[in-house]
């Protein structure tokens, strides 16, 4: 028996304890929850927190990945290994299927991305499995519109977010009462910052995909951002010169909308140090938010995760 005494409040991590509490509320209040898993560091952190919430029992709900088909191969390999090691159930739904069924239209041109198309695939999957709670790794510090998001955020039949009519959340009481057809998006790490997540990954020794660490990659420059050039997913003009650079990724979204940053940080402690020192926000490397200042809010109203 390990006699570790959590005597002082300062020795416990309030954010971790809050997240565990939220996970348990989801399991208790909903019939069919699902954890939306992207293979990124935030959703990997969620998996660890869920393990902690239910140990020694298994996580009592499946993981679901909405696969754009444009993921980094490292992320997919990582995903499959994690699921196997933890004995979890994984559901994958493909944006390509939504395209083939004519439900969404592939974007074209130099900024083409499947990021927005995910929404349709996600909403279809929610309906297919009758999920009533979708747990995600969004954080309020990511973006201004997210700053107003609730921990339990109610979506209507069409997956829409009514930001003007949100339920007040008092103390840590979470009201998960919904009507049939509605569902709730749950954000257990709402109150974490990017640095909190990285520090947690370091402290917990959580394994994450290799693309988060410095590596050599064929890249090209556009709009001051560094894009991956070693695949067909990212549109590239012929005059956009390909150069090998030492880079890493700060977020792992779709390849077509996730830019790399120049970095020598090849292990977790140097990444944490880099985040501490850095002056560009995480979403600064996401082209989907730059489309307009209100881009995220608009996507959220439409049901985007």
């Amino acid at each position: 028996m390990i006699n570790k005494i959590m005597k002082n409040t300062s020795q416990i991590n309030p954010l971790e304890n809050e997240a565990i509490y939220i996970f348990r509320e989801v399991a208790a209040q909903f019939e069919k929850p699902v954890l939306l898993f992207s293979g990124g560091k935030d959703s990997i952190t969620l998996v660890r927190l869920a393990q902690k919430a239910f140990y020694p029992a298994k996580i009592p709900f499946p993981l679901m990945h909405i696969d754009t088909g444009h993921n980094f191969p490292e992320t997919i390999a990582f995903r499959d290994r994690l699921v196997k090691e933890l004995g979890l159930e994984l559901i994958v739904r493909n944006v390509q299927d939504s395209i083939d069924q004519g439900k969404v239209k592939e974007e074209s041109g130099r900024y083409a991305s499947r990021n927005q198309l995910q929404t349709t695939t996600l909403l279809d999957a929610i309906e297919e499995f009758k999920f009533d709670a979708c747990i995600g790794g969004a954080r309020r510090d990511e973006e201004k519109a997210r700053a107003k998001e609730r921990i339990f955020s109610v979506r209507d039949d069409f997956g829409q977010w009514d930001e003007k009519n949100q339920r007040p959340e008092l103390f840590d009481m979470l009201n998960g009462q919904i009507e049939l057809g509605q569902n709730v998006r749950v954000f257990p790490i709402s109150n974490w910052t990017e640095l909190d997540v990285w520090s947690y990954i370091e402290k917990e020794k959580i394994e994450i995909p290799s693309i988060y660490f410095a590596h050599t990659r064929a890249t090209f420059l556009r709009d001051g951002l560094i894009w991956s050039a070693d695949d067909d997913v990212v549109y590239r003009d012929e005059d956009e010169e390909v150069i090998e650079r030492i880079v890493r990724f700060r977020t792992v979204g779709d390849m077509s909308c996730t830019a790399a940053v120049l970095s020598e940080a090849s292990d977790i402690s140097s990444v944490v140090q880099e985040i501490r020192d850095s002056s560009i926000s995480e979403r600064g490397a996401r082209i989907d938010d730059k489309r307009s200042e209100a881009a995220m809010e608009k996507r959220k109203q439409q049901g985007y995760f």
Binding site: M1, I2, N3, K4, I5, M6, K7, N8, T9, S10, I12, P14, E16, N17, E18, I20, Y21, R24, E25, A28, Q51, K52, A53, F54, Y55, P56, A57, K58, R140, D141, K144, A145, A147, K148, V154, E163, K164, Q166, R167, P168, E169, L170, F171, D172, M173, N175, Q177, I178, N191, T193, L195, D196, S278, S279, I280, S281, G284, E293, A294, E297
Partner: protein, 415 residues
Amino acid sequence: MDVLKIATAGSVDDGKSTLIGRLLYDTKSLTSDKLEAIKNKSQQLGYDYLDFSLATDGLVAEREQGITIDVAHIYFSTVNKSYIIADTPGHVEYTRNMVTGASTSQAAIVLIDARKGVIEQTNRHFFINNLLRIKTVIVAINKMDLVDFSEERYNEIKSEFEVLMSKRDYQDQNIKFIPVSALKGDNVVNKSENTPWYTGETLLEHLENINQKDVLNTGTPRFPVQYVIRPKTEEFHDFRGYAGKVYGGELSVGDEVVILPSQTKSKIKEIHFYNQKVQTASRRSSVLITLDDDVNISRGDMIVKANDLPVIDKQFTATISWMDSQNLASGNKYVIQHGVNKVLAKVDTIHHKINPDYSGIDQSAQVLNMNDIASVTFKLNKPIFYDAFKDHRTNGSFIIIDSKSNNTVGAGFIQ
């Protein structure tokens, strides 16, 4: 690392968003791309200064109207502490938002426009912080640059505020006055040269020096059972653990406990935090408890120390904050969520409403409208296990849910 949650509130243009923006800017928490966006937008709007309120006013409607309409959460950190600011607006659903923001906070900043002094909003904000028993309140007297950094004006406002303080119910509140100019940066992070007569701490210095024991209300341990964990695996065949968060105090292995509502006695056998067994669970830790005896426990039950029981009753009187556009009237039925426990409730009596200017009470009130604060007795369909809010901030509070809309329509603090 310590996390300090702070509620801010104020009226439309007393510079709250600017103050927060200034805190972010002076602590170098604004990233270069965010700062650039603020610069561009300020220029576009024709300002000759940086409008830091643009850093926090998140929703499109707000940017259009130039006001904040909901609770926004803002994060920054220093080497000592992580800060979470719940920024709440000062209009329309003002009380609802202020109560919400204050409920999750351990400290509050009340903002006063130095030109206007104490106004009804100040009164309301202070009253709510006091009602919610926020231990630390900072009164930031803002826009000092517009009153020539006058010490006399500062003292005048301070005395006006002290009149409010003399009427407060919760006397143990630590209150601190600071003269600031959020727009110019005086006494927010950096000490101002314009206020040589003020020798106290800047706003950030004060926040940095707030100790956990200055902000946390301690009481007796309460453990509401959130979820029962039964792995049914070979390794943990007969394992039955109770998951929950410890509120108000600590629980240790060997503690004699009583399970409510059955009032069965038992002892804490083990406390688990993930794959570790611990001797003591500190307050606000999310743990898993096992007991010596095989007791039938389900969600909503509560584990408490045997020598320290809460009140067990099918009715209570509470101060409630009404948050819905539909009125509350005697005889109305609602769901009350007390922690993780839900019961059906009926409004028995509306005793009185607090006057909107907090000058006194109105005993003739028949219904409650949005933003009203009132004393109400509820009758329940089954007993709950509660403490008075003044003794236990968690076990003395609840939310009211309308079972037709499923919305959270009110919050209450048990008397």
